[in-house]
Amino acid sequence: MKKASFPRRASAVAVAAALALGAGPALAQLKSYDSSKPSFWQNPPPDWFLGDETEEMKGLAPPVGPATPTPLAELQENLKRIKLPPGFKIEVWAHGIPEARQMAWGDNGTLFVGSFGATNVYAVTERDGKRSVATILKGLNMPTGVAFRNGALYVVAIDKILRYDEAERQLENMPKPVVVYDDLPPYVAHGWKYLVMDKEGAMYFNVGVPFNIGIPPTSTAHIRRVHPNGMAELVALGVRNSVGGDIDPRTGQFWFTENARDWLSNDLPSDKLNRIGRVGEHFGYPYCHQGDLPDPKFAMGQKCESFTPPVLNLGAHVAPLGMKFYTGDMFPAEYKNSILIAEHGSWNRREYQGGRIKRVTADPDGKNAKQEIFAEGWITGKQDYAGRPADILQAKDGSILVADDWAGAIYRISYAK
């Protein structure tokens, strides 16, 4: 293995040399990690998501959002800059929801919303035409994923799936949860999850790898399906970290977005949209990225042709999160079965991209896939956001809701001729 040109801790010699050259306060040290050994993930470094820096990507780190949810007037001003296809309209649907992530409808019209570091689950309810937001659960370990079935709210918090029965009747005083599944690794790194339920109540979710790139420890790097009786199977292998998925209404097959590795370059590799055609397919991680790019350290002689290629490469560092097949009647007819994808946007890229909503059309077998930008305008500078789309949910009337975890808001996108 080629040694990085700069060690992680500069040697005394390197420091002395840099001083002799009269370097400024920042020496040009590049971080590098040996993530090939178990010691790396058994005791992950605090900056676990970092990788071997390149000169072009030096010093990049995930941006910190606003301390408080963006006020309504500012949200409305932000939305004036969002570009949509003709006939579509975006408005603020709810606000004051810190770090809003996955959304799920209750049977009686309550919108449940998970969150990232805020530890909360929220409920948005409407009474007498007035919409209000309440924090119904607090103190959970990254409760990003929520689902609803038979009157019960399901919440996934890293290594536990919790069920709150009769949730909509007890919003003010939520019942004690039942742990329905906890055979999961404890890693917080890429351990936040979504929940997607099929018609039979089987739950699909991701189990991400606890680092950027390396040989995945056991019970990670896959999509898992847990049946209502608690039996589980690995339905997709070789997945780095998926942060959203949905079931194709045409076939019942599961499609999912996947965030590719960081620290290779600003423009490689591409994030992906995948389809599980056959249970147990391998999607390439860590050996091969974007269907055609062997990993420089971890390819280990494997050929990209051995793995299932993506339906579509979405672009480098666009960070696709929640996705939905559109099944409503409000949007123009050609939107039926289109996939709408919330792209959270970059951090590991000198100039951010993503931070928008994509529309993808593809045949049921994944062929003839095409993508176009559906909504954009949340990136406000080379490295700043006014908002970051995190999830998409269809409403009864065929409009869609978009969760924004940067601004702490939910938007509604509707269409009228």
Partner: protein
């Protein structure tokens, strides 16, 4: 040209929705006893807030308000703040001119040691080359060394939280006492 237009657009969008500095100034009357009338303190144990980064100040007030950063004085004060007041306070203190570095030459050996420690721990990655801060990463230049030392020790001992991931708790975990002293002296006047 495109660059200029983009910069202009960014400026306009920010100023159009900047928090209310004047409202912040009025609300700050409770703060000036300790933090100084122009946000520059006389007591070296208390941080100057003048010219501090808006997003950093707002996060600290949120942490004081929700108890993740403990302080007998700041906790009760922050508990009474609304989101709007908290934003205004951040904007007000950020709008004030920063303190000058203290007069007099620092101990050159310790200063050099601090400079090397800052390079070794890559402080400038987030706080920028002039240590003037960026977004949620605060300005650390020209802060009193007494306060900076305490801040670094608090981060090291997890007595106060980082903003974001892989930030101060993680960085400070690897600092020795000697490095903390040297860093605090160096940052008081990085030159």
């Amino acid at each position: 040209m495109r660059h200029v237009l983009a910069a202009l657009a960014a400026t306009v969008s920010v100023s159009a929705w900047a928090a209310d500095i004047e409202a912040g100034r009025q609300r700050a009357e409770a703060c000036v006893t300790c933090h100084g009338t122009e946000g520059i303190t006389a007591d070296p144990a208390i941080p100057s807030l003048a010219g501090q980064k808006e997003r950093y100040l707002q996060w600290q007030l949120v942490f004081f308000r929700n108890g993740r950063r403990q302080s007998e004085i700041m906790g009760p004060l922050a508990a009474t703040l609304s989101d709007e007041e908290l934003r205004n306070l951040g904007a007000y203190f950020a709008s004030l001119p920063r303190a000058n570095p203290p007069a007099g030459a620092p101990d050159p050996v310790l200063h050099e040691r601090g400079r090397q420690a800052a390079a070794r721990h890559r402080c400038a990655s987030c706080h920028l080359d002039d240590y003037g801060g960026s977004q949620a990463a605060p300005a650390v230049a020209h802060q009193t060394r007494t306060y900076t030392e305490k801040a670094l020790r608090d981060y090291r001992g997890n007595a106060r939280p980082s903003v974001g991931v892989a930030a101060m708790n993680e960085v400070a975990a690897g600092l020795s006492d000697e490095e903390i002293v040297a860093l605090a002296l160096y940052l008081e006047n990085p030159g």
